[in-house]
């Protein structure tokens, strides 16, 4: 069970307070009607499966309820960085 420091609550809390939000920095295409089915399908279904540092979203579901980004090592599970939405790692 991970421990994550919520960047808004500034507390190190157990994973059970958080909900996973999938890969971070996946931008919704600004104009979907202009995309081919394949391009849209890539956005819908394809995500990175990184070995090592991985950028992902978490939500402090049982806390402040806010989404934030985590840079996490998928091998050691170490949390390398926690940063608010809109920031870059």
């Amino acid at each position: 069970m991970l421990q994550i420091r919520c960047p808004y609550c500034h507390e190190l809390r157990s994973e059970e307070e958080f909900a996973y939000g999938g890969e971070a920095h996946v931008r919704r295409p600004p104009h979907p009607p202009a995309l081919t089915d394949r391009e849209w399908g890539d956005y819908l279904h394809f995500r990175h499966n990184s070995r090592g540092a991985h950028r992902e979203m978490w939500r402090h579901a049982a806390g402040c309820g806010r989404y934030f980004n985590v840079l996490r090592d998928t091998v050691s599970y170490a949390v390398l960085k926690v940063y608010p939405m809109g920031d870059e790692p």
Partner: protein, 1047 residues
């Protein structure tokens, strides 16, 4: 023989209390042991050789080990609800009245007879899986035969709890290494938890004759523990097994608090009638440690030889423990076989109690270490360069076949190893394949064979913490790998097998862990005790002792005793092409038992490596996973059982429903009244009555559970227009609109009615079970994609109580309690909202309908819910108002063809599939590149994907069975023609009821291309063999023009 009837109990010595005899029974036989015994030591003291029967072959089995590693003596304690299966007799502390069952009698015959004892590797795959129909037969036999215990009957009467704990340094293992580590860390000021699985600290020292600081080791242990107790920030946990090492230094520890006192904890002292135990039987410690020290010790490895499972073959260290700690001599004449100096201690222990040592058989050509010299000086014959190739005996060892060994030029058992020997560095790989017989065997008489094949560090937790084990030729063992977490291994767990080195490593690890946790300078400050442990000569790596016959023809050489996996099985797996150790594990079941292969793992890997012509390092070891030893479900559940298993949500009118003896339906976590049966009514009677009340008069339903999200802000309309597929920009104040919420892939996620309460304020309704998911979904888009939108969401589900007044008389009823809202059809039309006073309470009234009837949904603040409910019932009395439940609601909405998301949909349907294309606005046309693109709605792009346009997609239709009274089962499959399979599946029934209003059955179904098949006859084959024919019709069965809700 001692007078106490324990024929193999020694007259003196040991850590048992002879003044406290304890009565117990084993398989119904009454016996006596002493306080301080384990069930295993008491059984041995009573001369019990047979403690179980083997899983596959039904061979008699005796005790091999003395702790967590024991594979054979697996017992069930007690009977009924409080019984505990799958306990190792070696870890069960004896208590007065203990009743243990081995399962040995039950096991065999059935299976051994059925299979004639022939169950080679891959037996399950080969025998049971084909033909498939026989699997059920085999499975029944196997389960009965397994003898691995049965689940308790009835609810567990015991109490369990959990502690969440934090500490600076967690030390696992309270042997010499762990004690020193804990003391060093505590001395540096760290908050320390020290956990050990045994009832007292000391670990291997409890069974040792070694002296520390010139006195018995036990004295040093007592002093060290006493010193640890002087630190207020040190927590000492006994009978506590750290069984799981999880992410971010989260360690789970099972503390057995009352198991040693009896099966069910003592009832509360005061109040004799109470059946609630006074104390939890077990406690699960969930520990977050900044640093951990794994001082988990090592498990001795048995040598593998023919018939090595005959009772009377034991681990050398286990025999020493029985002699030294429990004062039991489980035999008369010992033959000791060893590959190392340490094993000689057991021969010396045996001689010390005056028993005969037939010989020490040492595989090394010239053993001359200090311990070997001691043995020779004590007059013990040492047969060097030999091995025990087979045990002789049936239900008890009667002798051993001993033969000379030599290092092979080629390999004895496998042609591949010849190739290996030609490799320039082949010497490093020599261990297994490199030994062969150098002469004929001879027989030596004995009734006890103790074997030591070296030590395997207990690296389970280290592996769970992410460390990849590393094979060491020098230690002839897998050592802990580079840790991925904040942990370190020390002592025997790290491959240090000498006491001095263990103590030093423990102190160093304690100091290092404390420093990293922020305490001390990392230097060892303790004065370590002197100890008399002599230096040991190098050991020989030997796993399988060769037989005169090839492995495949030799008598069984057991590797995994619990699951009866032999060396021949592993060689067979290799011959059949299995290469990966993980695959071989699954193919042969090696290490799959409740002992998790504690004794078999390394031997199995070594034998496999030899068969594959590889080094052990290249072969690797299987993954160790939690739990280290079995953990009861009770401990994992803790107090989260019964009413605390999952919280229930109650509406403000819950106690009224309860008083009316409503039958409940669980929806999400909510308790909703399903129907309100009157005396003598069956469910269908009640539902019919409730439905007809709504269709003909007036009904009242508690709709408080619907998810409610308050949406405010200047961009609220824009936000709604993006998350809903419908037109929400145009929704006027005081108006309601049905909306479909889609996922990005275009499938229906949720539906519900949204009310515009004010210029920039909306109330969004979700389905009852989906409220939290919808809220999280909306927040996700608001926070991550559209932070620029000025909109705020608040979940207000629990803030409001909602009563739906539905039926032709609804207006008249509401009029009795609501004067300040004009309820007329003109002033308050369908799909609009008003605020006012109902029964004198502030209320929001929505004219929305899930029944198709005239309906007012009255919302008041939750605290007024019951008052409103009572007022509406009173007002409705003259109109014979009837409460109705969710089942009537389901029937009513199905009569109207209204879907329930999650029942009629399964996450793969588009709006068009459900006939809800009207609720979707057209997506924006591709625009000029120079123009800023407008956001459509979530999922819009996916609606035009090719697969979503497929003409043969299943579509929502109604079904009318040709026999009007026959109700199709929900989930029934639909085919075109009745007949034998294979037939093409055309769809399935999603909702099905008997409709009282129509006096016939109705069903909703998803049918391929259904909307173009109106009038066709389809068929539903049922599980009972019947096939029901039905006509495809419109999903709207009742009031197809929708006039009734508009009146």
């Amino acid at each position: 023989m001692p007078a106490n009837g324990q024929p193999r109990r020694l007259a003196a010595g040991g850590r048992i209390d002879r003044s406290k005899p304890l009565n117990f029974s084993f398989d119904g036989r009454a016996m006596q042991g002493f306080a301080g015994d384990t069930l295993a030591s008491a059984l041995l003291a009573n001369g019990v050789d047979l403690v179980g029967r083997s899983f596959k072959h039904g061979r008699p089995r005796g005790l091999i080990g003395q702790g967590a590693e024991e594979p054979n003596a697996i017992v069930t304690l007690g009977e009924g609800a409080a019984s505990v299966p799958n306990l190792r007799a070696t870890q069960v502390e004896l208590y007065e009245g203990l009743a243990a069952h081995s399962g040995a009698k039950r096991s065999l015959k059935t299976l051994a007879g059925a299979c004639a004892g022939l169950m080679p590797a891959g037996f399950y795959y080969k025998t049971f899986m084909r033909p498939k129909r026989l699997w059920m037969f085999w499975e029944r036999l196997l389960r009965r035969a397994a003898g691995l215990g049965a689940p308790p009957a009835g609810p567990d009467p015991d109490l369990y709890d959990k502690f969440n704990q934090h500490c600076d340094v967690l030390v696992v293992g309270g042997g010499p290494t762990g004690l020193v580590a804990a003391l060093q860390a505590a001395g540096a000021g760290a908050r320390v938890i020290l956990a050990d699985e045994q009832p007292e600290f000391g670990g291997s020292l409890l069974a040792s004759t070694v002296e520390m600081n010139g006195a018995a080791a036990a004295q040093w242990v007592a002093e060290t523990v006493a010193e640890l107790r002087t630190f207020p920030a040190v927590q000492l946990l006994l009978r506590s097994t750290a069984f799981g090492y999880h992410d971010h230094n989260f360690v789970t520890i099972l503390e057995r608090r009352t198991d040693h006192l009896g099966l069910v904890a003592q009832p509360l002292a005061q109040g004799a009638a109470s059946t609630v135990p006074a104390a939890p039987r077990q406690r699960l410690h969930r520990v977050r440690a900044k640093q951990t020290v794994l001082a988990t010790g090592a498990l001795e490895r048995p040598l593998v030889f023919a018939n090595n499972d005959v009772p009377g073959v034991m681990l050398a260290s286990a025999l020493s423990a029985y002699v030294n700690r429990y004062a039991v001599a489980p035999g008369e004449r010992l033959l000791l076989c060893t590959t190392n100096d340490n094993g000689y201690r057991t021969a010396l222990d045996w001689r010390r109690i005056g028993r005969e040592v037939t010989a020490v058989v040492d595989s090394r050509p010239q053993p001359d270490g200090a311990l070997a010299q001691q043995a020779r000086a004590a007059g013990i014959e040492v047969i060097a360069g030999h091995g025990v190739i087979a045990a002789v005996g049936g239900k008890r060892v009667r002798g051993a076949l001993v033969a000379p060994l030599r290092i092979a030029a080629g390999g004895p058992s496998d042609k591949k190893s010849a190739k290996e020997a030609q490799e320039p560095n082949g010497a490093a790989h020599w261990p297994v394949a490199g030994v062969e017989l150098a002469g004929p065997p001879r027989r030596l008489d004995c009734d006890l064979i103790a074997s030591s094949g070296g030590w395997s560090p207990t690296i389970h937790l280290s592996v769970q913490a992410g460390g990849k084990p590393v094979w060491s030729d020098a230690a002839a063992a897998f050592l802990p790998g580079e840790p991925r977490q904040q942990t370190r291994s020390a002592g025997a767990a790290a491959g240090a097998f000498g006491l001095r080195e263990c103590l030093l490593q423990g102190a160093q690890a304690g100091a290092a862990a404390a420093r990293l946790a922020g305490f001390g300078d990392g230097q060892v400050s303790l004065a370590l005790p002197d100890c008399d442990a002599p230096a040991e000569a190098p050991q020989q790596a030997l796993f399988l002792v060769p037989h005169t016959k090839p492995v495949s023809q030799a008598p069984p050489q057991f590797v995994d005793m619990q699951l009866d996996v032999t060396a021949a099985d592993l060689e067979l797996a290799a011959r059949e092409g299995y290469q990966s150790v993980e695959h071989v594990k699954r193919y042969t079941a090696l290490g799959f038992g409740t002992d998790q292969g504690k004794l078999s793992n390394v031997n199995g890997v070594a034998i496999l490596a030899a068969a594959l012509g590889r080094s052990i390092a290249d072969t690797g070891v299987t993954m160790f996973r939690p739990a280290y030893t079995p953990v009861s479900f009770g401990a994992i559940a803790g107090r989260d059982v019964g009413g605390l298993f999952d919280p229930e949500r109650h509406t403000p009118m819950h106690s009224w429903h309860e008083a009316r003896e409503a039958v409940w339906e669980d929806v999400g976590r909510w308790k909703r009244p399903r129907h309100y049966p009157q005396p003598g009514e069956a469910m269908q009677d009640a539902v019919d009555r409730e439905c007809l009340a709504v269709r003909r008069g007036v009904g009242l339903m508690d709709a408080s559970t619907l998810g409610k999200i308050d949406i405010q802000g200047p961009d609220a309309a824009l936000f709604l227009n993006r998350v809903y597929a419908g037109r929400f920009l145009q929704l006027g104040v005081g108006r309601c609109r049905y909306g479909l919420m889609l996922k990005e892939d275009g499938t229906i996620f949720d539906d519900g009615v949204t009310v515009r309460l004010g210029e920039s304020r909306y109330l969004l309704h979700t389905t009852t079970g989906n409220a939290e998911a919808v809220f999280a979904w909306l927040e996700r888009w608001r926070q991550t994609e559209w932070p620029e939108l000025k909109v705020y969401l608040t979940s207000v589900t629990d803030h409001w109580a909602t009563a739906a007044v539905a039926g032709p008389q609804a207006r008249e009823v509401l009029r009795q309690v609501c004067a300040d809202i004009d309820l007329s059809a003109q002033a308050f039309p369908f799909m609009s909202a008003r605020q006012g006073q109902v029964a004198g309470r502030p209320a929001r009234v929505f004219r929305i309908s899930f029944s198709g009837e005239l309906c007012f949904e009255v919302n008041v603040p939750a605290q007024h819910g019951q008052f409103l409910w009572d007022a509406l019932l009173e007002a409705g009395e003259a109109f014979e108002i009837r409460p109705y439940g969710t089942e009537a609601m389901h029937v009513l909405r199905a009569e109207k063809g209204f879907i329930i998301v999650g029942q009629d949909t399964d996450g793969t349907q588009t709006p068009d599939d459900m006939g809800l294309g009207w609720a979707v606005r057209p997506s924006p046309k591709p625009q000029d590149a120079s123009e800023a693109p407008a956001f459509g709605f979530i999922g819009d792009r996916s609606l035009s994907l090719a697969d979503h346009q497929r003409p043969d997609r299943p579509q929502l239709v109604g079904l009318k069975t040709l026999a009007a009274e026959a109700v199709l089962p929900e989930g029934a499959q639909i085919v075109n023609e009745p007949g034998r399979p294979p037939v093409d599946m055309q769809g399935h029934v999603t909702s099905s009821y008997f409709s009282a209003a129509l006096n016939r059955s109705i069903a909703l179904a998803m049918l391929r291309n259904g909307r173009r098949r109106m009038g066709e006859i389809v068929h539903c084959p049922l599980a009972d063999g019947r096939t029901l024919a039905a006509q495809v019709v419109s999903p709207v069965f009742y009031d197809p023009k929708g006039e009734r809700q508009h009146v």
